[in-house]
C-alpha cells in the first residue's frame, strides 16, 4: 500500500457525530461531535481525564463507541476499518516504539506495516529522519535518545505512509520547551501537504499557537468549539477585567445592576474575573468596577485567553 491521495475538496476528512463511550458507571465521552477539514488543525483542549484520548481511540478504531458515528473521508469507519486506517496516521500519547531498535529501524518497520514496500519505507524513513533532525542518530538505538528525540520518532512512525488525516494525542507531553517548539513547527509544516490534523492537548499555548479551530472538552462533553476569536467572543468581547480584593463575604448577586453589566467568569476569595456585557468603553467598565462595594486592591485589563474561556465554561482553571 502506498499513500492514498484522495479527492476530498469540500469534504470533511473526519466527521464525528454524537460519539459516546461509557466505562462502567463513568461516562468518558458524551455525545461528542466534531469535524476536521483538509489542511486544518483542530485542537481538542481539555484537562487530563476529559475524554480526549478516549475520543481519539474511538476515531482510530481502538475503542468501539457505544453510540455515534465516525466518518473518515466520507465513509463510515466501521464499514471498512482497514480503508480508514490507510488514510489516517495515529500518534499515541505514550511512546509506542521499540527502544532496542534504532530510529531508522523503527520508522522502516512501521512503514512496512503501513503497507510500504521495503524500498519505499527506506526512502521515506530517510526523508523523515532529515525532517525530524534525527539523521545523525538514525542508527542509534532509541533507548539512547533523549525524551524529545523519542517523541519525534514516535511522531515520525505515524507519517511513513503520508496519511491524509493525522490524529495526535498530546504529542509533546513531558518534553522540554525547545523540543516542543521543534515538534510544533514540524506539525505546522504538515499542513502544507493538505493534511488534516486532530490535535489533543491540555496546553493552552499549544492550542492557541497551532490550531485553527479548538474544541473545549471536559468530563466527556464538548463544551464549546470554534476559532480562538469565536471562543473569546463568548466572553463578551476582546477584554476581561481581573479585580483583586477580599471577596470572602462579597455577594455579587446582591450588587445592584452588576449582572446587567458584567458576566462573572471566576470568583475566588481574592479574585474576581469578569467580562463586560455589550460593547462598552473600557474606562466606563473600570469606573463601574471601582464603584463596587469592595475595597479593590488592583484591577487588571487583559485579552481573554483560552483559560478564561475554560474558566467561564467549567468554573475552574484548565491547570487545576
Amino acid at each position: 500500500m502506498s499513500s492514498c491521495p484522495l479527492t476530498i475538496a469540500g469534504m470533511s476528512l473526519l466527521k464525528v457525530e454524537h460519539l459516546s463511550k461509557t466505562f462502567g458507571t463513568i461516562r468518558a465521552v458524551d455525545s461528542v461531535s466534531l469535524e476536521v477539514r483538509p489542511g486544518e488543525i483542530y485542537g481538542l483542549l481539555g484537562p487530563n481525564g476529559a475524554g480526549k484520548t478516549t475520543t481519539i481511540s474511538m476515531i482510530c478504531g481502538l475503542l468501539k463507541p457505544d453510540a455515534g458515528e465516525v466518518l473518515v473521508a466520507g465513509t463510515t469507519f466501521w464499514s471498512d476499518p482497514q480503508k480508514a486506517k490507510r488514510i489516517m496516521g495515529v500518534v499515541p500519547q505514550e511512546l509506542a516504539i521499540y527502544e532496542e531498535l534504532s530510529g531508522r529501524e523503527n520508522l522502516e518497520f512501521w512503514g512496512r506495516l503501513a503497507g510500504l514496500s521495503s524500498r519505499e519505507a527506506r526512502l521515506r524513513a530517510t526523508e523523515l529522519l532529515e525532517a525530524l533532525t534525527l539523521a545523525d542518530r538514525a542508527k542509534d538505538a532509541v533507548a539512547t535518545y533523549s525524551g524529545g528525540m523519542k517523541r519525534r520518532i514516535n511522531l515520525g512512525c505515524a507519517l511513513l505512509h503520508r496519511p491524509q488525516l493525522l490524529l495526535l494525542d498530546e504529542p509533546t507531553v513531558g518534553i522540554d520547551p525547545q523540543a516542543r517548539l521543534n515538534i510544533l513547527e514540524f506539525i505546522r509544516n504538515l499542513l502544507a501537504a493538505g493534511t488534516g490534523i486532530l490535535y489533543t492537548t491540555h496546553y493552552l499555548e499549544e492550542a492557541e499557537m497551532l490550531c485553527q479551530r479548538i474544541g473545549i472538552i471536559d468530563h466527556g462533553r464538548l463544551l464549546a468549539e470554534g476559532t480562538l476569536s469565536q471562543l473569546q467572543e463568548r466572553l463578551g468581547g476582546d477584554r476581561v477585567f481581573v479585580l483583586e480584593a477580599d471577596f470572602k463575604s462579597a455577594l455579587p448577586d446582591a450588587w445592584e445592576g452588576f449582572h446587567q453589566r458584567f458576566r462573572v467568569i471566576q470568583k475566588t476569595e481574592r479574585q474576581l474575573v469578569v467580562a463586560a456585557i455589550g460593547a462598552r468603553d473600557p474606562s466606563e467598565c473600570l469606573k463601574d468596577l471601582l464603584d463596587l462595594p469592595v475595597r479593590a486592591e488592583n484591577v487588571t485589563l487583559k485579552r481573554p485567553s483560552l483559560n478564561d474561556v475554560f474558566l467561564q465554561l467549567t468554573g475552574r482553571e484548565l491547570r487545576e
Binding site: 463511550k21 466505562f23 478516549t54 481511540s57 482510530c60 478504531g61 481502538l62 475503542l63 468501539k64 476499518p81 482497514q82 486506517k85 489516517m88 495515529v90 499515541p92 505514550e94 511512546l95 509506542a96 516504539i97 521499540y98 527502544e99 532496542e100 531498535l101 529501524e105 518497520f109 512501521w110 512496512r112 506495516l113 503501513a114 538505538a141 512512525c157 505515524a158
Partner: protein, 429 residues
C-alpha cells in the same frame, strides 16, 4: 507481513538476548542436573546394582530359577536380590536399604500351572526411590509377559509340566521342558515374533496378573532396554511439562508489546491482529523446538536413549509447540494483568504437565484419570511420544501432529479475537 514482524522480533532478540538465554538455560540446566545425578551410572550401561528383596512364599522351583537368573551372569551385574521373609523385607524397605520387595505368593506355580484362576506377583516399591523401583516394575512386566505368553500357548502342556515340577521338583525334567519349549518357539516363526520382541505385556494395574493379563506394549526385553525405557518414559513426560512452562514464558513477550503500546499502535495500522500473534507464535515455536532438542536430544545422549522414531517425534513436537504457543497467546488475551498471568500460567503448565503425563496415568486419582487427563493435550503429546518410543508402528503421530497444529491455528484466531475485543472494550496492559 509475517516476514516483517519476524525480522523485527529477530532484531529485538539479537539486541536483547537475555529472555532467550534464560529460556534456553532452564532446559539445559535441568537436563544437565538430571544427567549429573544419573548420567555417570549410565556410562557403565545402567544404574548401579539394584538391591531388592524376594519373599518366596511359594518355595517352588520358580523361586529357585529367579534366584539363579538374578544372581548370575548379566543379571548379577545389575541386580542384588536378597531372599528373606516378608517381615524382614518390610523392615529393610522401611529402613530404606532396598528398592523393592518382590513377593511370590504361596502356591503361585501350582495355581499358574493349573490355569484355573489368575495369579499375581506382588511388587512393593520403596516410596523414597523413583528410578530403581520403576526399573524393577518394568522388568517384572517382562517376566509377566513371558508367563502370559507361555500360558496362552502352552496351556495344553501344563498337566505334564505340573507332574514334573510340583513337589520337590525335578531340575532335570524342568530344564528338559524349558529346552523343549524354547526349541519349539524358535522353530515357529509366529511364536518367535510373538516374544522377540514380545508384543504382549502385562497390566500394571492390577499388578502382575501372570496368567490372564495382556496389555500395553513394552518392546525390548533386555535390562538395558528397560532402563533406557524408563528414562525415555520420564524424559518425555518431563519434557511435555517443561515445554509448557517455556511456552508460557516465551509468549509473555506479548505483554511487553502491550506495555510498550506497540500492539496498540499496530492496531491503528492493521485491522487483524492475527499476523502479529502468529509472528509471536512462530518465535515461540522456534524457542520451544530448541528447548525440546536440548531436553530430548541432550537427555537422550546422557541416558543413552535410542529414539526409535526421531522424525515422527520431531513432527509431533513441532505440532505440540504450535499448540502451546497459541494456547499461551490466548492466556495473554484473557488475562490483562501480567504478574497475575505469570502465576496462572505456571499453575496451568504444572497442572497440564503433572496430570497429563509426567506421572503414569494409573497413579493419578480416578476422577482425574478418567475425566480430565484424556482431554489434556499434554497427555496426547506424552502418550503419542511414548507409544512412538515403544516402537508401535501404527501410532497415529501424523494425526496427532496435525491436530496440534490445527488447534494452534484456531487458538491464534481466538486470541486475536479476544485481544481485539479487549482493546475495543477499553482494557489496556
Amino acid at each position: 507481513m509475517l516476514r516483517v514482524l519476524l525480522a523485527k522480533d529477530l532484531r529485538h532478540a539479537v539486541r536483547n538476548p537475555l529472555p532467550w538465554i534464560i529460556n534456553l538455560i532452564v532446559p539445559l540446566s535441568m537436563t544437565l542436573l538430571v544427567g549429573l545425578i544419573f548420567g555417570r551410572h549410565a556410562d557403565s550401561g545402567a544404574l548401579g546394582r539394584i538391591r531388592f528383596a524376594v519373599v518366596d512364599e511359594d518355595k517352588s522351583l520358580l523361586g529357585d530359577l529367579l534366584r539363579g537368573v538374578t544372581n548370575q551372569a548379566k543379571g548379577g551385574r545389575h541386580f542384588d536380590p536378597v531372599f528373606m521373609g516378608r517381615e524382614a523385607a518390610m523392615r529393610e524397605i522401611d529402613a530404606d536399604k532396598i528398592s523393592a520387595v518382590l513377593i511370590i505368593p504361596a502356591n503361585f506355580m501350582s495355581n499358574y500351572l493349573r490355569a484355573r484362576e489368575p495369579v499375581s506377583l506382588e511388587l512393593i516399591k520403596n516410596p523414597a526411590e523413583s528410578v530403581n523401583p520403576a526399573v524393577l516394575e518394568e522388568l517384572l512386566g517382562v517376566v509377566a509377559t513371558g508367563l502370559n505368553a507361555i500360558s496362552h500357548n502352552f496351556r495344553s502342556k501344563f498337566p505334564e509340566w505340573r507332574t514334573g515340577l510340583e513337589g520337590s521338583g525335578d531340575y532335570h525334567q524342568a530344564f528338559f521342558f524349558i529346552e523343549r519349549t524354547g526349541a519349539k518357539l524358535m522353530m515357529t516363526p509366529k511364536y518367535k515374533n510373538y516374544i522377540n520382541p514380545p508384543l504382549v505385556s502385562y497390566e500394571k494395574e492390577p499388578p502382575a496378573d501372570a496368567s490372564t493379563s495382556a496389555a500395553p506394549a513394552k518392546a525390548g526385553g533386555s535390562q538395558s532396554d528397560a532402563i533406557s525405557g524408563v528414562f525415555s518414559y520420564l524424559l518425555i513426560g518431563f519434557s511435555g511439562m517443561f515445554l509448557l512452562f517455556i511456552a508460557g514464558s516465551a509468549m509473555s513477550d506479548l505483554y511487553r508489546e502491550l506495555r510498550q503500546h506497540t500492539l496498540e499502535r499496530y492496531q491503528t495500522l492493521r485491522d487483524s491482529l492475527a499476523p502479529f500473534l502468529a509472528s509471536k507464535a512462530v518465535f515461540g515455536v522456534v524457542m520451544l523446538l530448541l528447548c525440546a532438542a536440548i531436553m530430548l536430544g541432550g537427555g537422550g545422549l546422557i541416558f543413552h536413549i535410542h529414539w526409535r522414531r526421531p522424525l515422527p517425534l520431531m513432527a509431533l513436537t513441532f505440532g505440540y509447540a504450535c499448540f502451546m504457543a497459541a494456547l499461551f497467546a490466548v492466556f495473554v488475551a484473557l488475562m490483562p494483568d501480567e504478574r497475575r498471568a505469570a502465576v496462572l500460567n505456571n499453575l496451568a503448565a504444572m497442572f497440564m504437565g503433572l496430570a497429563g503425563g509426567v506421572f503414569p496415568p494409573e497413579l493419578l486419582p480416578a476422577f482425574l484419570r478418567q475425566h480430565i487427563t484424556p482431554f489434556l493435550p499434554s497427555y496426547w503429546f506424552v502418550t503419542t511420544a511414548r507409544n512412538l518410543q515403544d516402537g508401535g508402528m501404527d501410532v497415529a503421530w501424523g494425526w496427532a501432529a496435525f491436530k496440534f497444529a490445527a488447534l494452534g491455528a484456531a487458538l491464534i484466531a481466538l486470541a486475536a479475537m479476544l485481544l481485539r475485543r479487549r482493546f475495543q472494550s477499553g482494557l489496556r496492559a
